[in-house]
Every structure is written in structure tokens, then in C-alpha cells.
């Protein structure tokens, strides 16, 4: 036993696995989960190339090649749906990161500890509100007759407005409510990165006589640059899958033309219209765009900065 420990590299494959066979017992259950709920559904992707008939099952349903994909791309509203998804995600992405970074820097710079803790605690709180409640709050506040926003408008002598019914307002309402809800939470990671900055850098900056604005620009931001890039790429991974739950709840017939996104369309085609094959094909298109985006941005991040990529 002790000899074997001293020369682990000379062990054969079978002995390496055999000595720690219990690891395989331990991972069996979680791996079973991944096989059943992640890998078996991947087999279901075949649906996208078939015309699914319940009685025949996935394998025996007739092949139709790329028919379902053609159907999607020939549909005049498809382009609009892809555009909605992409623009909504990008809007959310480019507004959420800078705001979270600014909040983190402000929290890091304020003198009083009590004040910092209080602001942090309050701005963090909405993160715990569920999506359903969040959308309900939006509807209460934006209600044409009784909502707070229209009460404020009325006090300035303006007419009441049906915010949720205006298609062009949908993405602003979506994004700004998300900023309200998540900025405090998103700031944590940058705040952590800021507190981890080597104090010597600040000393050096002080010797050079920089003021506080310059300190942020020349010390803080470059130090947390990698964290920002990683967060950006990670969020890129969710660009096309983003926000089903919230968008779905916010939809109504009036705003649908800008509120319909890939995931809500998949749900409607698949589970409401029961067109399983078509719905799966749209999901595949969605996944491919997603993968291409994340790989592209990771590549860009890596060419700009060796440490910048996610992998």
C-alpha cells in the first residue's frame, strides 16, 4: 500500500481506477441525473429533423430534413423575433455591467462604513423578489388608471399612459426594471475585486500625486478589467436564452410585436400549438446562435488579452 503510494505513476489504468473505485459509486447518482435530464434530451434534438407523431415516437416519426428550419426562416415574423431577442439581451448586457461597476466603485470609495453597508443592503434586496412578483409590481406601478407613474405624470399635468401596452416601451421597461432589481447584486463581484487590489498600487499612485478620479481611471478600472470581461462573456452565453420567465409574463397582445422572443415563441409553438418538431428546430437555431456568440466573444477577449478569456 505504501509502496503504491510512492509510485503512483507506474500504476496501470485498471489499477488507477480500481484503487479509487468508490469515486465512481459517488458520482453515479449525479451522472445519472445528467444522462437522463441533459443527455437524453439531446437525443430529442432529432425532433427538429422530423415530423413528430406521438404514436410513432421520436425515432419512428418520418424524417423531413431541414423542413422545420426552412419553415422558421421563411416565416416573416422570425427575423423580428430573432432581432427582438438579440437587441433585448444586448441592451440588458451593455447597461447592466457599467452600472454595476459604477455602483461598486462608489461603494468602495465612500468613507463611512455604516453608510456603505446600508446602501449595499438596500440595493441588494430586490434581487430576492421573484420574477412573478417583479412583473406584478411593474403592472401595479404602470397601471393606466391607478399606477404610481401615472399619478406622478398627472401631478405634472400630463395625460395617463398605458405603458405596458406600448410596444416601443417594452424593452426599456424590461431592462430598467432588471437594472433596479439586480444592480446591487451584480455589484458584489466587482466590489470583491476592488477590495482585492494590492494596496501598494494605491501607495504608488499617491506618490505620483493622482487625484481620486485619476486613481479610479488608472488603478481601479485596469485592476478589475479581467473580471468585467469574464462577466461579459459569461452573460453572452445567456444572450439568446435570456429572460423567458420575465418576458413571458410581461407580454400582452399590444406589446407582443416587440415582446416576442425566441424562448417564448418556442414555448408557444411547442406546448400551446403542440408542434413539437417545429419548436425544437427553433430551439436548435437559438442554441447555435448562442454558442457562436460565446465562442466569438471568448476568442476576441483572448486575442485582446491573454488572461481575458473564460477558458
Amino acid at each position: 500500500m505504501k509502496n503504491a503510494l510512492n509510485q503512483p505513476r507506474q500504476l496501470s489504468l485498471g489499477r488507477k481506477m480500481g484503487r479509487h473505485w468508490q469515486f465512481y459509486v459517488i458520482v453515479a447518482l449525479p451522472m445519472l441525473y445528467f444522462i437522463i435530464f441533459k443527455y437524453v434530451p439531446m437525443y430529442g434534438v432529432l425532433l427538429a429533423f422530423k415530423r413528430y407523431r406521438v404514436s410513432q415516437g421520436i425515432w419512428n416519426s418520418p424524417w423531413v430534413g431541414l423542413y422545420q428550419f426552412e419553415k422558421f426562416f421563411k416565416n416573416p415574423s422570425s427575423l423580428k423575433i430573432m432581432f427582438n431577442t438579440f437587441s433585448l439581451s444586448m441592451y440588458a448586457l451593455v447597461s447592466s455591467i457599467p452600472l454595476a461597476v459604477i455602483l461598486a466603485i462608489a461603494l468602495n470609495e465612500t468613507g463611512s462604513k455604516v453608510w456603505r453597508k446600508s446602501v449595499q443592503m438596500v440595493t441588494y434586496a430586490p434581487y430576492f423578489i421573484s420574477t412573478v412578483v417583479m412583473v406584478a409590481i411593474l403592472m401595479q406601478f404602470l397601471d393606466p388608471a391607478l399606477g404610481l407613474f401615472n399619478a406622478i405624470r398627472a401631478s405634472f399635468g400630463k395625460d395617463s399612459m398605458n405603458f405596458m401596452g406600448e410596444a416601443h416601451l417594452f424593452k426599456h421597461i424590461y431592462v430598467w426594471s432588471a437594472l433596479w432589481q439586480n444592480t446591487g447584486y451584480n455589484a458584489i463581484i466587482y466590489l470583491a475585486a476592488l477590495t482585492g487590489i494590492n494596496p501598494e498600487l494605491y501607495e504608488a499612485a499617491k506618490v505620483d500625486g493622482v487625484n481620486k478620479f485619476q486613481k479610479i481611471w488608472y488603478v481601479d478600472l485596469p485592476s478589475i478589467k479581467n473580471t468585467i470581461v469574464i462577466m461579459f462573456i459569461m452573460n453572452m452565453g445567456f444572450v439568446m436564452s435570456l429572460g423567458f420567465e420575465k418576458a413571458f409574463l410581461m407580454q400582452n397582445p399590444l406589446n407582443l410585436q416587440s415582446a416576442e422572443i425566441m424562448s417564448t415563441y418556442v414555448y408557444k409553438m411547442g406546448l400551446i400549438n403542440s408542434d413539437f418538431s417545429y419548436s425544437t428546430a427553433i430551439d436548435v437555431v437559438n442554441s447555435i446562435i448562442n454558442i457562436v456568440l460565446i465562442l466569438t466573444f471568448n476568442h476576441i477577449a483572448k486575442t485582446k488579452n491573454k488572461e481575458g478569456g473564460l477558458w
Binding site: I26, K38, V122, Y124, S130, L146, I188, I294
Partner: protein, 297 residues
């Protein structure tokens, strides 16, 4: 001397900018929350007349009485508690069972396993294939359909693995191995007792996720008796918003509508209270989790 004074001025401007920004952020986040709470405690007529701006007007508990006597909300609460507790226990256990072998270099094949699970982050079968799997397993329209299909989050596995790598030393593992401790025994006697912090973090992440989730229930549940709170809330707060009043008497209709407004605010408060009450106590764990998660690799 002149230069120093200039620096002092910019620093003062700086701290003014910083603190005003923080103050504005505080007000923007806090005001809507206060407004909701105040409306829920106000007399319905006062809310209808738009008299509520900051504090409750004509303090009234009538909306809360209506909420607490609502059967659907009661069942939803109990169901959500059930899903949260059982789902969290199961998820944390499965996550730790996967993270522990992945944290040990003695586990031959760990890079293959890591790649297999990371791949599921990038590519999934999608909504319909998963739906068919759930149906074929015979767990459709049962409590299992809420707990099982999303039991493990890959991101949480990575967080747990990173924590274990950093907190359970190789020396400890080797010492235990020399003393004849098996891998399962090591998991039970060392890993779990030493992982209080990460178990707390995982439990929080999973519990919050489970409590706030509604889509799985929409996909996989038909029996109303199994509905979690979020589905009940969706029906009360979002779907039934614009149901026209059947009452002919205008006065009564307006009063009923006023009550339904304050009831909505009360429902929002009641539904959010459990997490908002515990979060100041769990905040540091959350911060810890996010920070472990941010470690690259």
C-alpha cells in the same frame, strides 16, 4: 501649497459625487418598496384616490385579512415550502456528490466528467425534448417534476468543487488514505463536516431558485393542488388583472376594485417577506458564494 489646495477641492467634489450617487441609488431602490408596503396597509379608498405617496393613509388591515383567508395562497405557500425544502436537500446532496470526486486529482477521469457536465451548459436539448423525457419517466403532473429536472446547476458544481479544492488539503486526504480511510468514508467523515460554508451557500442558491421558480410548474403541473406559490401569484396578480367587474352598482364596483388593488399590494408583500426577512442574515454567505464562483476555472 497651491497644488495641494487644488487636490483637496477635487477630492471634495469627488466625495460629493460618490455620495450623491449612492443616495440617489438608495432612494430609487427603497422608495418603490416602501410605497408597496404603505399601499398594502392603507385603506382601499385612499389608494384609489391616490392619496398614498409615502406612508400608509388610514391604516387598515382589511387586505391582509383577505390574503390570509385565501385558500389558494395557503396551499401555494405550503407547496412552495415543500418544494423548497426537499428540492434543496436533494440538490445540495447531488451537487456535493459530484463536486467531491471532481475536486480530487486521484479521481481518474475527472477531466472527462468535467467536460461532460460543462458541455450541458453550452448545449441543451431544449424545452420540448426535456418535456418528453419528463412525460416518459411518468413524473409528469407529480411533485417529482418540480424537483428533479433541474436538480443540479452546473455553475454550483463548479463553485463547490473550487471550494473543496481550496479547503480540503491534499495532506489531510493522504493522511486519511494511509490510515485506511476509504473515499466514501472520507466524504462522510471529513468533507461534509468541513464544508459547512459551501453547503450553506449551495442551500441558499438552490432554495432561492426553488422558491422563485414558476416555469417548471407551468410546464409540468396540471393539478391545482400541487401548484407552487408563484403559479398562484401569477393567476392572482397577472392573469386576473383585467377581469371586468360583474357588479352593476358602480359604487360597489369601485370599492371592490379598490380592495382588489390593496389586496395585490398585500399579496406582493406576503409573497416577498420570507426571503426579504432572512436575507440580511444570509447575505454574507451569498457574497461568499458569488466570490468563490468568480474564481476562474
Amino acid at each position: 501649497m497651491h497644488y495641494k489646495r487644488k487636490a483637496l477641492v477635487t477630492d471634495r467634489v469627488f466625495s460629493l459625487v460618490v455620495n450623491s450617487f449612492l443616495f440617489i441609488s438608495l432612494v430609487i431602490v427603497l422608495y418603490p418598496l416602501l410605497y408597496i408596503v404603505s399601499c398594502s396597509f392603507s385603506e382601499p379608498q385612499a389608494v384609489m384616490a391616490k392619496k398614498v405617496w409615502l406612508f400608509p393613509v388610514n391604516f387598515d388591515l382589511v387586505s391582509y385579512k383577505a390574503v390570509f383567508t385565501n385558500k389558494q395562497i395557503g396551499t401555494g405557500y405550503m407547496n412552495s415550502l415543500y418544494y423548497m425544502v426537499t428540492g434543496t436537500v436533494m440538490s445540495v446532496l447531488l451537487t456535493m456528490l459530484l463536486a467531491y470526486p471532481l475536486s480530487r486529482k486521484e479521481f481518474y477521469g475527472r477531466s472527462v466528467v468535467t467536460k461532460l457536465i460543462l458541455f450541458t451548459m453550452l448545449f441543451t436539448g431544449g424545452t420540448i425534448p426535456l418535456y418528453l423525457v419528463v412525460r416518459n419517466l411518468g413524473i409528469y403532473d407529480s411533485r417529482w417534476a418540480i424537483i428533479l429536472p433541474n436538480a443540479i446547476t452546473v455553475w454550483n458544481v463548479i463553485i463547490a468543487r473550487t471550494f473543496l479544492q481550496e479547503n480540503i488539503s491534499d495532506e489531510l486526504y493522504e493522511a486519511a488514505e494511509i490510515d485506511g480511510c476509504s473515499d466514501i468514508r472520507f466524504l462522510v467523515s471529513f468533507v461534509f463536516p468541513l464544508s459547512g460554508a459551501i453547503v450553506a451557500v449551495l442551500a441558499l442558491f438552490y432554495a432561492v431558485g426553488q422558491w422563485n421558480k414558476y416555469f417548471d410548474a407551468l410546464l409540468y403541473l396540471q393539478k391545482q393542488a400541487l401548484y407552487p406559490l408563484q403559479i398562484v401569484l401569477r393567476n392572482i396578480l397577472i392573469i386576473n388583472r383585467n377581469t371586468p367587474s360583474m357588479t352593476v352598482d358602480v359604487e360597489a364596483a369601485i370599492r371592490a376594485q379598490g380592495l382588489s388593488e390593496t389586496i395585490r399590494y398585500a399579496v406582493i408583500v406576503v409573497a416577498s417577506v420570507p426571503l426579504l426577512v432572512i436575507y440580511p442574515f444570509v447575505q454574507r454567505f451569498f457574497v461568499k458564494g458569488v466570490m468563490i464562483g468568480s474564481v476562474k476555472g
